[in-house]
């Protein structure tokens, strides 16, 4: 078959369902459309439309009474929007600084290792008792558009005001590179096993940390992954999407709406990413500034 024929055959294959649909009676068409649209529409409403409309980032600040300058009379609003908006923006930045410092002080009270991510100066730090023990330069980062909107609204500091607690993690590398060794039966066997080479770990480091208050932090390494690493990365991506879909289904089964997570993606050198992932305890705390 020529290339043209393949194209034609593909078009025919594509047109088949449409032709089938058009050949049906009105009643059958209606029944089909109803059945076809019902499930995706329901899923779209409960997993996309409603979680966006009732996202927790909005309700968090609802208790605070604020004045919207846009709701004021035109002449006053214009004046306010020029000078006072700038001041309000500065205040919003200061409020974020304050929230970040308070969170770090809170982190310093804990004995375990915590993570401090400052996107304004592109650094990631490991801290114990407030002492920075590893500094890493964030080479690139992206975050959800929601963060930008919350900042514009002057509400971001409320969300950042306490340490985030790690709930779930997913990674391309094991948390601890454990090797099992059976004890030798005698000195001869022990002498034989002494010559064994140490395996050098060359694993790629990519991981996702899910924190409370709907925050997801993904860390990627800057170095391009190896072939095996790419495979592992694909598997990790699938697991991550599957985990999100499973969480949504679990929420629906409990008659709750799945919540949208504010995500942040950062890029670090492999060694930094590995060190951070391995150092963080199971319920690690995070202080964040963005």
């Amino acid at each position: 078959m020529t290339r043209k024929n393949y194209g034609l055959a593909f078009l025919q294959w594509l047109a088949k369902p449409v032709v089938w649909f058009l050949r049906q009676t009105r009643g059958v068409q209606a029944a089909f459309l109803f059945a076809f649209i019902l499930f995706p529409l329901f899923i779209f409403i409960v997993t996309v439309a409603l979680p966006v409309a009732r996202n927790p980032f909005e309700t968090a600040a609802a208790s605070e009474i604020r004045e919207n300058p846009e709701s004021l009379p035109d002449s006053t609003a214009a004046e306010i929007l020029t000078g006072r908006r700038e001041l309000a923006k500065k205040m919003a930045a200061l409020e974020i600084d304050q929230a970040f410092l308070l969170t770090r002080l809170e982190l310093a009270k804990k004995d375990s290792i915590g993570l401090v991510i400052d996107l304004t100066d592109s650094t990631a730090k490991l801290e114990v008792k407030g002492v920075p023990i590893r500094h890493c330069k964030i080479l690139r980062y992206r975050h959800s558009d929601l963060a930008r909107r919350l900042r514009g609204q002057g509400r971001l500091h409320q969300w950042l005001a306490a340490p985030f607690i790690l709930q779930k993690e997913l990674a391309t590398l094991p948390k601890a590179p454990i090797r099992i060794k059976e004890a030798p039966k005698d000195t001869i066997e022990a002498a034989e096993s002494k010559g064994e080479d140490l395996p050098i770990e060359q694993r790629d480091a990519e991981f996702t940390l899910q924190f409370d208050r709907n925050l997801t932090l993904s860390v990627e390494q800057t170095q391009p992954p190896s072939f095996a690493g790419r495979m592992r990365e694909m598997w990790y991506g699938l697991r991550r999407n599957f985990s999100e879909a499973r969480d949504a289904v679990t929420a629906l089964l409990h008659l709750q709406l799945p919540q949208h997570r504010l995500w942040i993606e950062i890029e670090l050198p492999r060694e930094d990413a590995k060190a951070i992932y391995r150092a963080l305890p199971t319920r690690a705390s995070l202080a964040l500034r963005l």
Partner: protein, 278 residues
């Protein structure tokens, strides 16, 4: 199967036609003289409406719609986070407009000043947390040490930390995990010319029988280097005879250092000095 009447070999050209076409060709072939090679032209054949395109009953259409709908629902579920993100981008900005706590300029300026002061106080408070005395940072992922004083690094060196080996002894029905603990520790003791009291795993690992607790077989001299600093729970910072292994995760949980690094650590860290391991 269609065959060539000259030699009886299968006629591939004819066999590529659809079943209906080949049946149509069968009749003229028998009339033709054997000398004429049959030329078969694949003419477009209007196929009868296939069963799959025929009008279906309402229940069948419902079932088909449900199955396709379920598939679409699964896809929606899979891409829901991306769709939500797009919705946030598409949503009008006015919904997220900046709201001021108050529109009174004087009040705002006062609040801003107060905030500035509060932030400065917090910064000062946070800066005071860092120890004034020298402290040690041990990086177990890259097997390196950093002697620090405040924010200043006094020395950087190589070390060896826990191997992550899980030693299992079937005979003893016991197991040991060789990891360096993470977190904040303090120097609890400083020893010169330390003697190593070998624990049980040291004998199990060498395939030797375990001697009694205070047996002389347990004491070994000179293997821990010139100094040892105690971190508690039996973990030490000490020297080593196996210098070529420095920089690798090979220990049973202790932190091994080279002679020069050990001397510097011993000199700089006092009793109570902090050691941060990650």
């Amino acid at each position: 199967m269609n065959t060539n009447p000259n030699d009886g070999t299968p006629n591939h050209r004819a066999s590529t036609l659809s079943e209906g076409a080949s049946q149509a060709e069968e009749k003229p072939e028998t009339v033709r003289s054997p000398q004429v090679t049959p030329i078969i032209i694949a003419s477009p054949v209007i196929a009868p409406p296939s069963a799959s395109l025929a009008p279906a009953s309402a229940p069948k259409a419902l079932l088909l719609g449900i199955s396709l709908g379920l598939l679409a629902a699964l896809l929606t579920l899979w891409f829901a986070p991306v769709l939500r993100e797009w919705m946030f981008v598409v949503l009008p900005e006015s919904k997220f407009a900046l709201q001021l706590r108050t529109t009174d300029l004087k009040k705002l300026q006062k609040e801003a000043l107060l905030l500035k002061k509060r932030v400065a106080t917090l910064q000062k408070k946070h800066a005071q947390i860092t120890p004034r005395l020298p402290y040690l940072i041990v990086d177990t992922s890259e097997n390196r040490i950093h002697i620090m004083k405040g924010d200043e690094q006094l020395h950087e060196g190589v070390c060896s930390t826990g191997s992550y080996v899980l030693l299992r002894s079937a005979a003893q029905q016991r197991q040991w995990m060789f990891t360096t603990p993470r977190g904040m520790f303090q120097i609890r003791g400083k020893r010169e010319a330390p003697v190593w009291k070998k624990p049980d795993w040291a004998f199990v690992e060498e395939g030797l029988p375990i001697p009694p607790v205070n047996s002389s077989l347990r004491f070994e001299y000179g293997v821990l280097g010139e100094y040892a600093l105690e971190l508690g729970d039996g973990y030490l910072i000490h020297g080593t005879l196996y210098k070529r292994m420095l920089g690798m995760p090979v220990t049973h949980g202790c932190v091994r250092l080279g002679d020069e690094d050990l001397r510097l650590v011993y000199k700089n860290l006092q009793l109570g000095s902090k050691v941060f391991i990650y």
